[in-house]
């Protein structure tokens, strides 16, 4: 327990101009990849010219396109601040969350391209079928399994043991990692980084007793060995999870168990 901080001063000098000034506006072209099998099998690019503001995100631009120009532009979203994992998409060629990508951080002199994530079947515009993704997740048994007696109170876990798997508990199942993985793109059979991350979260949880089973599952033809350390997953993860590191730890755990 850290000691309670000293009582802060009742009054302080604030730095000049803290919190930023007024918000500039600018024009951007949003280029969205459109696909709707109900209308046509063709895929096309639609451009939307929009006036946006300095604090706007790509999600705001998509909303503007949908709400003011073409209501049929379809994409998923919910929380709008990077915690629900709904809106992973490929923005200027890279997987990101639309709600976490500020327009001003992109090159707005060129059109901003928005495409669905790769490797999962596209259903309509930016919406993909997430079922295969969740299927992999479910296969690694993503739940605590403990043998022995249930304690009457909580289980004891040291701060260090809790820290051991902290990174991988942050996953929001957005699929940005799995759908950025060149190995996953090939045939979609690879478990994918997200499933491994979620296995890692339990394998290294001191309270869990089924680590061996999960290692066994991932020691598979489609398991961890398919990872070729391309790091796309780590770069794509909006939660900053060290995905490749987690995969390496799982690989080592499998090896350690065998030898």
């Amino acid at each position: 327990m850290t000691a309670a901080p000293a009582e802060p001063a009742s009054k302080v000098e604030l730095p000049e101009g803290a919190g930023g000034g007024s918000v500039p506006s600018f024009d951007v072209t949003l280029r969205v990849r459109r696909y709707d099998p109900e209308v046509s099998d063709e895929v096309r690019w639609d451009d939307f010219k929009l006036t946006m503001y300095g604090t706007d995100r790509v999600l705001d631009a998509l909303h503007k396109a949908k709400w003011e120009h073409d209501g049929s532009v379809s994409f998923r979203r919910s929380c709008a601040h990077g915690v629900c994992g709904s809106d992973a998409m490929r923005i200027n060629g890279r997987n990101r969350l639309a709600c976490k990508t500020l327009l001003k951080d992109l090159d707005t002199s060129k059109p901003i391209t928005v495409e669905p994530i790769k490797g999962l079947p596209v259903e309509k515009d930016l919406i993909v079928d997430m079922e295969p993704f969740f299927q992999s997740y479910r296969e690694i048994m993503p739940f605590l399994i403990s043998k022995g007696h249930e304690p009457t109170k909580e289980r004891i876990q040291s701060i260090e043991d809790r820290e051991r798997f902290d990174d991988t508990t942050k996953c929001i199942l957005c699929a940005a990692c799995t759908s950025s993985c060149p190995v996953f793109w090939t045939d979609g059979q690879y478990f994918g980084p997200a499933a491994i991350v979620n296995a890692h979260r339990f394998i290294f949880d001191s309270r869990d007793d089924a680590g061996d089973m999960r290692l066994e599952i991932l020691n598979d033809k489609e398991g961890v060995w398919r990872c070729r350390t391309t790091f796309n997953c780590t770069e794509a993860c909006p939660r900053g999870i060290q995905v490749t590191q987690a995969i390496a730890e799982v690989k080592q755990a499998i090896l350690a168990r065998q030898f």
Binding site: R33, Y35, E42, G93, V122, E235
Partner: protein, 126 residues
């Protein structure tokens, strides 16, 4: 059935491109190796045939090709060591980018050294 959507190329970063390079060089080396074992086998046939075929390696064009091959082997080898470090060294994933730059630097140096020596030998002749 949906037509193939003409998506853009994924803009991966160092990690992805180094892997692409690794894969491409791996295949190139593999096919060279097939040929190389075959031509070396010619020593079984007769010294003359072998020397004749090997002679082909000695013309400037082949020398260039061979230089390319060595470039591929060097990259594949150094990057292979990087991959191994990423897999087994605790801080490997953290420093993968720096290690790639190191690979490229060493690769350039090693390759330059080799190219100067090899090309002067191969092209310079006696």
């Amino acid at each position: 059935m949906p037509t193939k959507p003409a998506g853009t190329l994924y803009r991966g970063r160092e990690g992805m491109w180094s892997w692409v390079g690794h894969r491409v060089t791996g295949v190139v080396i593999f096919f060279f190796l097939l040929v190389h074992v075959l031509d070396t086998s010619l020593v079984r046939v007769s010294p003359e045939t072998y020397t004749a075929v090997i002679g082909a390696y000695k013309n400037p064009l082949m020398a260039l090709g061979e230089t390319g091959l060595v470039a591929a082997i060097l990259f594949h080898a150094f990057n292979g060591l990087r991959v191994i470090l990423v897999d087994f060294w605790k801080s490997g994933p953290k420093y993968q980018r720096q290690m790639l730059w190191a690979v490229l630097v060493i690769w350039v140096i090693a390759f330059a050294g080799f190219a100067i020596r090899h090309l002067s030998l191969a092209l310079g002749g006696h």
